[in-house]
């Protein structure tokens, strides 16, 4: 089941959902709005094995994303839950402007708590601003025993590019 906004609020108060900083006016009927952190990584080149990203601090007067280009961003908030499964998606107001947020991996594992890495892809050239509301996160009840996440991305709070090639190189 998907939690309603008032249930998200209750569970934040009980400590079962972690959203920091938290502001009640960012609650929606079924999700919580998160903001864009200030660190962005831009794809620069492919070295034959992996993509190389350069790090950018998004200025207060905005940063122009080029269309057809892939960027990594971060949530400003630390988001997580030991009780629920999270799903991190964008906002329709930005999707309507052609901004993809999370290309296809929206599922967050139970037990992870960090600033999430965002996969940004602009279908149209668009300006983004630090701290703007850029996406929303929903929380889902689990069915079955929860085994804690043991993956490698959960410890990162800066935008983290793929480390898949580390496995493939074995």
């Amino acid at each position: 089941m998907i939690l309603t906004g008032s249930e998200i609020y209750k569970e934040v108060m009980k400590g079962n959902i972690y959203l920091e900083p938290f502001s009640r006016d960012q609650l929606n009927p079924n999700t919580y709005n998160y903001r864009l952190g200030e660190t962005l990584k831009k794809f620069t080149y492919f070295d034959g094995e992996k993509s190389i990203f350069s790090t950018i601090k998004i200025p207060n007067n905005g940063y122009l994303l080029s269309s057809g280009q892939m960027y990594l961003g971060q949530t400003m908030e630390i988001i997580g839950s030991k009780k629920y499964t999270t799903s991190l998606i964008g906002k329709s107001s930005l999707g309507r402007l052609g901004l993809f947020l999370q290309l296809s991996a929206n599922l967050g594992h139970t037990g992870i708590k960090h600033q999430w890495t965002l996969e940004l892809y602009a279908a149209l050239p668009i300006i983004i601003y630090p701290k703007m509301i850029i996406g929303q996160v929903s929380f889902w009840t689990n069915y079955g025993d929860v085994s804690p996440y043991s993956g490698e991305y959960g410890k990162f709070s800066i935008p983290q590019e793929s480390i898949l090639f580390n496995h493939n190189a074995l």
Partner: protein, 173 residues
């Protein structure tokens, strides 16, 4: 929990799910099929700034359809108006459409509980795609919420036709 097709039909007749026009034969195992409407929005602004109201053009497609070029992004609408005060709708592409390289939304698949209207489709073509009004384009599933329900009262309520982004209204401060 996700509703089955028979539950979608049952809840439609109970008035807990609103879909207009509704036809029982369009319920699938776990969703309801949605058609493409004939109204589209094409942005005219060279650069999109969320702080500014975007310039756009509203066009109506004829039966001969419209061609989306590879990499083109436009807004469309579902022919149906839909919503629910009891379940959370989530919009998905029909796999037949996704297999043509077409995204029907680029990020936000959840519809707020309490929202009602034509759903705006965020159409992005990764290959050249021809679109026709009335074609099957998407499907909506309905999910059971947990907790006290607060209904949507946002800026896209009662959408009639595709709605361009209104983010500039909240970004202006």
């Amino acid at each position: 929990m996700i509703l089955t097709g028979t539950e979608i039909i049952r809840n439609f007749h109970l008035g807990k799910i609103k879909i207009d026009p509704f036809n029982e034969s369009r319920a699938t195992t776990n969703s309801y099929d949605l058609k493409l409407g004939n109204r589209f929005i094409i942005y005219k602004s060279k650069i999109i700034d969320p702080k500014q109201k975007p310039e756009y053009e509203l066009i109506k497609a004829s039966r001969r359809g419209i061609l989306l070029n590879k990499g083109q992004f436009i807004l469309g609408e579902t022919k149906e108006k839909l919503g629910s005060d009891h379940f959370v709708p989530i919009v998905h592409a029909k796999s037949g459409v996704a297999r043509m390289g077409l995204f029907v939304h680029v990020t936000a698949d959840i519809i707020d509980i309490g929202s009602y209207g034509n759903s705006t489709l965020q159409l992005y073509a990764t290959l050249p795609v021809k679109l026709y009004p009335d074609m099957d384009i998407a499907q909506v599933s309905f999910w059971v919420p947990k907790g006290k329900i607060t209904l949507y009262e946002g800026k896209y309520q009662h959408s009639d036709g595709p709605q361009a982004s209104k983010i500039w209204m909240s970004m202006k401060k």
